[in-house]
């Protein structure tokens, strides 16, 4: 079973110049340790180096880490290291939060983060990482011949990997709800306590895949955009999740407010 493979393609070196070049889009493929010429996912999150933004994501990460430990102590049915990032309506900033969160996890020692793009209607993560068109999740779920290593791409940030959405499929929700998806998640978690999987999904109200993913996720991080996300949409989205993916309570669902003012941030760092 491919899902049992704990090894992910890693780059031969960690040449900062090569990574920077990949970030700039000048280098598309680099050689992996396995001798494979692998496409590099470009991780670009402007202003992440801004101290306040970094600290905001760090605060979110700390909460999630605490909840992961608590979930593992409780032996939750779903692995709490699988974090589903979703929202009630589109354009609330799910991909931005996913990338920022991955960048923040990267700072953890021995931490490995795999970003999975499951937004089949708007695969923004794949586009941002210049991985659109590459083999992705749906290809893997549909075709047993494809191995995990074929769809997991290293990125320009060490310890952060990406799984693009893959080609569009009509049966995407069913594929995502399949056991092969669960096996994939288990494989990505295998080999370390801090192997985090961040699933960047579509909005609950527009993508039925999200509901399927929620049944695999140990934690659901609901992103709500300030001044944009409507209360009625969140109500309806939470209702759908509750009915189709199990009870919605504070042990499983947390909320992150996106697009806030700097003045509303609990982090009191000045801008650089």
């Amino acid at each position: 079973m491919h899902a049992k493979s704990p090894f992910l393609p890693t780059l031969v070196g960690t040449d900062p110049a090569a990574v920077s070049a990949a970030n700039g889009g000048q280098v598309e493929k680099l050689e992996t340790r396995g001798g494979e010429l692998k496409t590099i996912g470009a991780v670009r999150t402007p202003h992440f180096d801004d101290s306040q933004t970094r600290e905001e994501f760090r605060a979110i990460k700390r909460h999630l880490m605490t909840r992961i430990q608590a979930g593992r102590r409780r032996n939750d049915r779903n692995d709490p290291r699988t974090i589903l990032v979703t929202s009630a309506s589109p354009r609330d900033g799910k991909t931005t939060v996913s990338i920022g969160l991955a960048m923040s996890f990267m700072f953890e020692r021995d931490c490995r983060v795999v970003l999975i793009d499951t937004d089949m209607r708007n695969p923004d993560l794949s586009r941002r990482m210049h991985l659109d068109g590459e083999l992705g999740l749906l290809d893997f779920l549909e075709n047993d011949e494809i191995e995990i290593n074929d769809i997991v791409y290293p990125t320009s940030v060490r310890g952060v990997y990406a799984v693009p959405a893959g080609g569009p499929r009509v049966a995407a929700p069913e594929l995502i709800a399949s056991d092969r998806m669960r096996d994939l998640l288990n494989a990505l978690h295998a080999g370390g306590e801090k192997h985090i999987v961040i699933v960047d999904s579509g909005s609950i109200l527009s993508c039925s895949e999200t509901v399927s993913l929620a049944s695999h996720a140990g934690q659901i991080l609901l992103v709500a955009a300030k001044g944009q996300t409507k209360r009625a949409d969140i109500d309806e989205g939470l209702g759908i999740l509750h009915r189709q993916s199990g009870p919605i309570d504070e042990t499983r669902v947390v909320v992150v407010m996106n697009k806030t003012d700097h003045s509303q941030s609990p982090v009191r760092y000045s801008r650089r």
Binding site: I60, G93, R231
Partner: protein
């Protein structure tokens, strides 16, 4: 508490900020509508006239003290109360409004109320000048209204005074007839008493009775009875006449005014003073001597021919009472007759001089420049209303959408932990979708503003043109009047 309030204000301000374009659109629409409405408001012209209520006409001076005076002619409050009545304004409406003939009572009442609210009467102190103002968008109509009101005022005042004098004369006639009856009865009583007691004929009329304490031909009476008997009747002095005159004046005033009317109060005060003066005179008059002492017996002797005739004191007292009553009745009767003559004189004066009493010092005119509307003020109010409408629309949209502006709101709404916030970084969003979606809105708003500004400018030009044509028309009218003169 204050922190919560500040947080609430901050949150609501942020919520409104998210709907700033709604605010702009609503405010623009309302402002444009208000501007168009204000600019198309017609000009309002104030027609006015001035009348002098002359209290010092030649005839009034000639009949001073003889005719009755009406000090309230020319009082603005009195004029307003009496002139602006339904009874007086209904003919004005019927005269000016062709549709008044088909009006029912309710419509007429509304028209009267409307006319009443638009007529302003001012008085220039105590000089007797009264101004009538009426504002209307049609200057000709305004002038006609003022003219009709002026005519109604003059004719109504004369008629009112005549009616008041007629009422007074009628009242006086009734009183005189009543007094005639009472006088006749009094005379009959005196005659009967004289027949029953012939001796009283020898007593001097209305003079203090001489009292004596002799023992010849006497009738003994007790002291209290004697005290009653010797109570002297009041003499017909000047103060008594003054009292009667004031009583008549009060009676006359009471036919028109209430007890609290200043003139009635003044007359009553004067009456009290006159009564006090009369009492003082009576007290100072020479009183008959009365022997004191409870057991002392007195004898009243009246000279009769060569000797004295003894008359019982109680008979004498009754006789004096009858005489006194007769004199009072006679005095009042004479005063009533005099007042009736004064009333008739006043009626004659109003018939001869009533119109001259009211001099129109300024015929109804309409200044060429309008007095309103105050477009500047209305535009400022429209601006404020536009701001309020914008705020209301933005708030309403925010309330309907139910967006969240703070993590606290989000947490309270769903009872789920908000584990963090991510500050907005414009560079994270390519923004293309937002900018593209705003383009039609901004373009539409800009187009609307341009259209409204153009409309406002056009309306302003039209307004100026209308004002200019009004000025030219008035100038031409003045030139024509000068040439005719």
């Amino acid at each position: 508490m204050i922190t919560q309030l500040l947080n609430l204000i901050y949150d609501e301000g942020q919520r409104l900020w998210y709907y700033r374009w709604t605010f702009v659109m609503a405010a623009t629409v309302v402002l444009c509508g208000a501007a168009l409405y204000v600019l198309q408001l017609p000009d309002v012209y104030d027609a006015w006239a001035q009348v002098l209520v002359n209290k010092d006409t030649t005839l009034a001076a000639a009949t001073q003290g003889v005719a009755l005076a009406h000090p309230d002619d020319g009082n603005a409050v009195v004029v307003q109360k009496t002139l602006l009545s339904d009874q007086n304004l209904t003919p004005v409406i019927r005269q000016l409004d062709p549709a008044a003939a088909t009006m029912n009572d309710a419509a007429m009442a509304r028209a009267v109320a409307r006319l009443k609210s638009r007529i302003h009467i001012t008085s220039d102190g105590d000089d007797g000048f009264i101004e009538f103002h009426y504002a209307d968008t049609d200057p000709v109509h305004a002038r006609n209204v003022v003219r009709a009101v002026l005519n109604a005022f003059i004719s109504g005042s004369v008629d009112r005074n005549k009616k008041a004098l007629d009422d007074t004369a009628t009242f006086l006639d009734q009183q005189i007839a009543s007094y005639q009856t009472m006088l006749s009865d009094s005379q009959s009583k005196l005659t009967d008493f004289r027949k029953q007691h012939p001796g009283v004929s020898l007593l001097p009329n209305a003079a203090p009775l001489p009292l004596d304490t002799g023992d010849m031909g006497t009738t003994t009476i007790t002291a209290p009875a004697a005290a009653r008997a010797v109570a002297a009747p009041p003499a017909a002095t000047a103060s008594s006449e003054r009292v009667a005159q004031l009583q008549a004046q009060i009676a006359n005033l009471r036919t028109q005014y209430t007890d609290n009317y200043p003139d009635v109060v003044t007359a009553r005060r004067q009456l009290e003073i006159a009564q006090a003066e009369r009492s003082r005179e009576l007290a100072n008059a020479p009183a008959p001597t009365i022997a004191s002492g409870p057991t002392q017996r007195r004898v009243v002797r009246v000279r009769r021919g060569p000797g004295f005739v003894a008359i019982a004191p109680d008979i004498q007292a009754q006789w004096q009472d009858l005489q006194r009553n007769d004199e009072v009745l006679h005095l009042n009767y004479e005063q009533l007759v005099a007042r009736r003559e004064a009333t008739r004189m006043s009626l004659a004066m109003y018939s001869a001089d009533g119109s001259n009493k009211y001099q129109v010092t300024r015929t109804p005119v309409v200044p060429p420049s309008p007095i309103g509307p105050n477009r500047g003020l209305y535009l400022v109010l429209g601006f404020l209303a536009a701001g309020a409408a914008g705020l209301g629309a933005a708030y309403l949209r925010g309330a309907m959408n139910g967006v969240f502006v703070s993590p606290r709101e989000l947490e309270e709404a769903f009872r789920l932990p908000v584990i963090g916030t991510v500050s907005w970084e414009p560079a994270w969003d390519n923004g293309e979708t937002r900018r593209v979606s705003r383009v039609p809105m901004i373009a539409g708003a800009s187009l609307a503003v341009v259209l409204v500004l153009a409309s406002v400018m056009a309306a302003s030009i039209s307004d100026v043109g209308r004002f200019g044509s009004t000025v030219l028309t008035n100038v031409a009218s003045m030139l024509n009047q000068t040439r005719d003169r």
